[in-house]
């Protein structure tokens, strides 16, 4: 009987091994064969991945809308003018499910299997950082509006370009405005600061911006509390208790929307109040206003990369807002949409200026690019001394008790004057 069993085992093992070999061989045959020269093709193929499912799916969806608007506009005008010929642009978009390895693998697929000409970036720092390595290895120009951490651009890469200003600048811009208030005597000198930051690249950069400013201020600012917290944390009461005990003047936090709502809820419950309150890029979101109540989020500052309010001062912004509303049934765009759109526009400009789809030529043009933009400052460029990351200033908004959130800084685009210290605290 054991003889029979043995042959059965041999057969099943052999079957298994040959099956494996077949499957593996089969997996190899899946690549497409096309190797047509890109200059002969009618369309310019641009590839991108976005987190359409997973933790960042909401923002991923916004970026998709921004990209699609940019592509539709160019194609409606007949396409890009490349070396005298008009060529349409086509977007190949995959879902990277907010996973770094997937973003990297899909970029590999886009470059080596789908043979796209250029890449647009995904969203969220970690994904952009993971994905950009493969773009650099394959010498593929990669323009993104989703990776803000400055260390992405400090690796000496030549093919990666970012329209998103570093989050450090957000901290610096906030401190600039606070400094103005302090110089005008509205805030005490020295002011004690509590910095609470989510333990992500975003939060780390925010903290760096604040602490660098404080260190260079010559004693005008003192960081009394510097604590990180986990993303999607549940309970901040112990941390807020620590803040309460430290009696600080300025409360500067950096959090994603759910943490902002949870933390601010607990902040209010603990009876806390500070002269200046900020949650980094959060503050004016409708979801938060609804969840917490207009009065409770009044005077909260937020720093953003772009706001639809800029339509009043920057004509390109106005054009964008109108086009967006027309395409997406009256919805008002937010900074996510704007940055995705600008990233695509920057890439298009690079291609047009190069007059061809040769990667090296386009890369050179992108490195030297300076085009008009709807971002604060009016232009966008990719300075080499910052590794190819744009350095546009942020704009600061402040929630008003009536539910609006006007821009208060910089002065050129401000719609209202900021208020400090927060009137909520004066009993």
């Amino acid at each position: 009987m054991w003889y029979r069993v043995n042959t059965m085992r041999i057969t099943s093992q052999r079957l298994l091994l040959s099956l494996v070999a077949l499957l593996v061989a089969g997996a190899c045959k899946k690549e497409s064969a096309g190797t047509a020269k890109s200059d002969d093709k009618a369309e310019i193929a641009i590839g991108a991945t976005l987190p359409l499912t997973g933790a960042e799916s909401r923002t991923g969806g916004f970026f998709k809308e921004g990209y699609e608007l940019a592509f539709d506009e160019v194609n409606a005008a007949g396409g890009l003018d490349v070396g005298g010929k008009k060529r349409k642009v086509k977007l190949t978009l995959y879902d990277d499910t907010t996973n770094q390895a997937t973003a990297n693998s899909l970029a590999d697929k886009l470059i080596n299997s789908d043979k796209v000409d250029f890449l647009l970036g995904t969203y969220s720092t970690a994904l952009v950082e993971a994905q950009s390595t493969i773009a650099e290895q394959n010498k593929m120009p990669y323009v993104n509006g989703g990776g803000a951490a400055s260390h992405i651009y400090k690796r000496g890469y030549k093919y990666i370009f970012g329209v998103l200003s570093p989050v450090e600048l957000l901290g610096t811009t906030l401190m600039n405005w606070i400094d103005e208030q302090q110089k005008a005597g509205k805030l005490p000198r020295p002011s004690k600061i509590a910095v609470l930051w989510e333990n992500t690249a975003h939060g780390k950069d925010f903290k760096k911006g604040i602490s660098d400013f404080a260190a260079k201020s010559g004693g005008a600012y003192e960081i009394a509390i510097d604590e990180s917290f986990e993303l999607n944390g549940k309970d901040f009461s112990a941390l807020l208790g620590k803040v309460k005990a430290a009696a600080v003047d300025l409360f500067l936090a950096d959090a994603h929307l759910p943490d902002y709502i949870t933390m601010h809820r607990q902040y209010l419950d603990a009876g806390l109040c500070h002269k200046v309150v900020s949650y980094g890029a959060r503050g004016s979101e409708k979801a938060a206003v609804d969840a917490l109540g207009k009065d409770n989020v009044a005077y909260v500052l937020s720093g953003v990369w772009w706001s639809p309010q800029l339509a009043d001062t920057i004509p390109l912004a106005k054009k964008f807002v109108e086009a967006f509303k027309a395409k997406y049934s009256g919805k008002t765009p937010e900074w996510y949409h704007a940055l995705a759109y600008e990233a695509a526009r920057a890439l298009f400009a690079g291609i047009q200026q190069a007059g061809s789809t040769d990667r090296e030529a386009v890369r050179a043009k992108l490195a030297a690019l300076k085009i008009e933009s709807m971002l604060p400052g009016g232009t966008v460029e990719f300075p080499a001394d910052h590794g190819g990351e744009a350095q546009n200033l942020f704009i600061v908004q402040q929630n008003q008790p009536d539910g609006t959130s006007p821009v208060i800084y910089p002065k050129e685009v401000a719609k209202a004057a900021g208020v400090a210290p927060s009137p909520r605290c004066t009993p």
Partner: protein
């Protein structure tokens, strides 16, 4: 008269295995693989090695670990840090990562006294605690910013053969362990710890041994992973999802079988890529359903199904022979 016991690996099977490895080794040239396929296969080999090693603990000994990502992450970051600061050739860095991961696994010794679900829950705790601590430990992992490695296209290209060699070694080791006396001892521990102790098998020693080996190999794959992606980040490397993937692949392939994880990895990667392009919003549920079906109807996963298929074929053949 000397009696030669049958060798551990029959000549036929050993030959077949070597043939498959040879085919895979020359595949990139013979099939003119695109860079994408080349890279996907490299990832496949890394996954195979990791899951096979996981299976030593989860399948052979029967202690299902949901926290192997801890060793994976440690191996990856040790290797990464060495490549950035010490500039040793990559294979040495990987080995160093494996070593440190093994030592870490040794440190988890007190947990090995636990049985069944208690052990599994403890590993979840270990995995998550590691993730939080290592994300906080910026000097070692770079914190939330992660660690970027210098790009070396040469290493990345040759990674295919390194990963293939390692996967082949681990597969051979899995087979040999399973069919040797060590495998029998592990099976005994899996079936009944106390009875095994009664016949002189020290559960503590063998469990430690397997956990350390399993952890070291998984740490090695972490190093390979770092070289492959050139960027590693603690929340991702130490994440619960990584541990879960190892469990899923092993169960799909066949928990406790010697080579089931290989099949599981192949199917998992194929299904994963297919789902990503066609139904990305269903991949979680599909794995869940697969897991449920396997546990309820075929605990040995795809290997079990393959064996059933082979048995059916044999029965049909026997019937034909018996009825002329």
């Amino acid at each position: 008269m000397t009696v030669n016991p049958p060798s551990l690996v029959s000549r036929r099977r050993g030959g077949g295995f070597a043939a498959v490895c040879a085919v895979l080794a020359v595949l990139p040239w013979v099939a003119d693989l695109s860079a994408y396929a080349h890279n996907q296969l490299t990832l496949l080999y890394i996954t195979i090695a990791g899951v096979l090693a996981w299976n030593w603990m989860g399948g052979f000994v029967g202690q299902v670990s949901f926290g192997h990502a801890a060793m994976f992450g440690i191996g990856g970051f040790v290797a990464g840090q060495m490549m950035v600061h010490v500039h040793l050739p990559a294979p040495l860095c990987w080995l160093a990562g494996a070593g440190v991961a093994g030592v870490f696994a040794l440190g988890a010794h007190p947990m090995l006294r636990l049985r069944g679900p208690y052990f599994s829950i403890a590993t979840i705790g270990l995995g998550e605690a590691s993730r939080l601590v290592f994300t906080y430990w910026e000097k070692f992992t770079g914190g939330a910013s992660g660690l970027s490695l210098p790009i070396d296209a040469d290493v990345r290209f040759r990674l295919y053969w390194w990963a293939l060699a390692i996967a082949a070694l681990v597969a051979a080791a899995s087979y040999v362990i399973r069919h040797s006396s060590l495998g029998l001892k592990l099976l005994a521990i899996k079936a009944d710890v106390e009875a095994a102790a009664d016949v002189g098998i020290s559960a503590t020693f063998y469990q430690d041994l397997v956990f350390v080996l399993s952890g070291a190999v998984v740490g090695l794959t972490g190093g390979l992973n770092a070289s492959f992606f050139n960027f590693i980040e603690p929340n991702d490397m130490f994440g619960f999802e990584r541990s879960i993937t190892m469990v899923l692949v092993a169960v799909i392939g066949g928990l406790g079988t010697s080579l089931g994880p290989v099949l599981g990895a192949v199917v998992f990667v194929l299904v994963h890529n297919y789902l990503l392009s066609s139904y990305p919003q269903l991949h979680l549920g599909l794995y869940g359903v697969l897991l449920i079906l396997i546990i309820l109807f075929e605990p040995l996963g795809l290997t079990g199904l393959a064996q059933r298929g082979v048995r059916a074929v044999e029965r049909a053949r026997a019937r034909k022979r018996a009825a002329p």
